[in-house]
């Protein structure tokens, strides 16, 4: 795999309000290899996604998207790079004032390259893919949590990005909702999309990813496959995989 087809973080440090979130963090997301970043709540998993997207900026280190360094670039340059990436936020982050259809077609409307009819066709296709086509004219407030997530996935797919990020996609969902999201992610991977997910939900992670990174105390504690992760004898990795009484109230 060439460097031009990957997202890479090198020695990234991020501090906010005097609190260190990431220290010398490295990450490689190669196209076609789906990765999950694991870690306890508040360990800085979402921060990694926001750093790659340029929504926040690191104090030091470098971030590359398809070989191009994007660290601390102006917002206008980030906008170009972001076209390669879409994200499904934890709460969906659907725009309240727009219908489901307008949410899904948002990026296409903004770009203004396609006609209204073409955008509508794409929107319907994406909503059909995630199984919520009947909700086309509803507003986000009228949807359930699971439906919101699926609409957010449809929105992420609309502009045909190379990479799709998932921020805790199964949090707050019932088992059927989790199953739906996992199968959708697998279908996306079959369709050739590269996914980067952050979660603390191990079954979802193992069902959707080939490689795993574990953050512990702002540093990368582990990187490898599922087999390597399970075989890893590091105490912090073992503690994460099989919490014991020692983990209580940590």
């Amino acid at each position: 795999m060439t460097e031009e087809q990957s997202i890479r973080m090198e020695q990234v440090c991020y501090t906010v309000g005097g609190r260190t979130i990431l220290t010398d963090f490295d990450l490689l997301l190669e196209q076609g290899v789906n990765r999950t970043i694991l870690g306890v709540s508040g360990s800085g998993k979402t921060t990694i996604l926001k750093l790659i997207l340029g929504l926040i900026h690191p104090q030091s280190g470098r971030i590359y998207i398809n070989g191009m360094e994007i660290t601390n670039r102006p917002e206008s340059e980030y906008r170009e790079q972001r076209k390669k990436i879409a994200i499904v936020f934890q709460g969906g982050a659907l725009f309240d004032s727009m219908t489901v259809g307008e949410n899904v077609g948002y990026r296409l409307f903004e770009e203004g390259r396609l006609s209204q009819a073409e955008i509508e066709e794409i929107v319907r296709e994406k909503l059909r893919f995630v199984g919520v086509e009947p909700a086309l004219d509803l507003y986000p407030a009228e949807l359930s949590g699971g439906m919101k997530k699926r609409v957010a996935i449809a929105r992420a797919l609309a502009a045909d990005p190379e990479y799709i990020f998932f921020d805790e996609p199964t949090t707050g969902l019932d088992p059927i909702g989790v199953y739906n999201i996992v199968s959708l992610m697998n279908r996306l991977q079959e369709a050739g999309k590269t996914t980067l997910m952050v979660t603390h939900d191990l079954p979802t992670a193992f069902a959707t990813s080939q490689r795993f990174s574990l953050i512990h105390e702002s540093r990368l504690a582990f990187e490898g496959t599922e087999v390597e992760l399970r075989a890893c004898l590091q105490p912090n990795v073992q503690e994460f995989l099989q919490p014991t009484d020692r983990s209580l109230f940590v």
């Binding site: 917002e75 936020f89 709460g91 725009f95 309240d96 948002y106 903004e110 203004g112």
Partner: protein, 270 residues
Amino acid sequence: MTRQPRQWKRCSSVIRLSAIDQQMLGFFARFQAFFFLAWQSFIRIFSKPYYYRDFAIQFDKLGFSSLFICVLTGLFTGMVMALQALIQLKPFAATSYVGGMVAVTMIKELGPVLAALMVAGRVGSAITAELGTMVVTEQVDAMRVEGTDIIQRLVTPRLKAMLVALPLLTIVTDAISMLGGYLIASGYGISPIMYLSTFTQFMVPLDYLEGVTKPLVFAFLITMIACQTGLNTGGGAEGVGAAAKRAVVLSSVLVLMCDFFIAKIFVVFR
């Protein structure tokens, strides 16, 4: 033992200085961010995409929805102005000047300030709360990821709507206050012609210009403070509430302060 208190004293003054330093740095950073946003929003008024639909929605939200409150404010302020003026003018047999007095006070000062304060309370807080909620629910981040220029999409349509709506609201407030003043003046035997004729005696064209310039400046201030506060909201629902309160207080105080400085500038050019 004897040196310890001195060390503590020195240490506490260093901590105090460092806290002041941090506060000052924070203040100047916010100040800089405000002017950056204001400039970026202003230049985007003239650049594409124009988001006409958003402008229309915002104009409706900011303008028409504030009309009733401005009418009420204008009516009662005009009435009370005329009442107080008539009481003061009656001993000098100068009640015929009441129209001019109401006009000067309302068009130059109270009309723009009261309309701006009403709009700051009603609309400024709404803008901050709306943008703040979008920030805490990650909708603003989602828009940025989708390739949207946040200033162009969220700030500029509000600014344009406010720059059109507030001067119009001020004109309505002024007109209604004149009417309210006449309602009271008519009870003292002042004819409509007498009431209107004193306008020209008291007002010069520059006064009308002052009456329109002020709402334009206030509109810019209210919108920029509301947007800046809203886009920097943090801390969930509580943070949104605190941000809305902060925006209203700050914009109200700045409206009153700017009113003085604009008046001073017009006095110089008189």
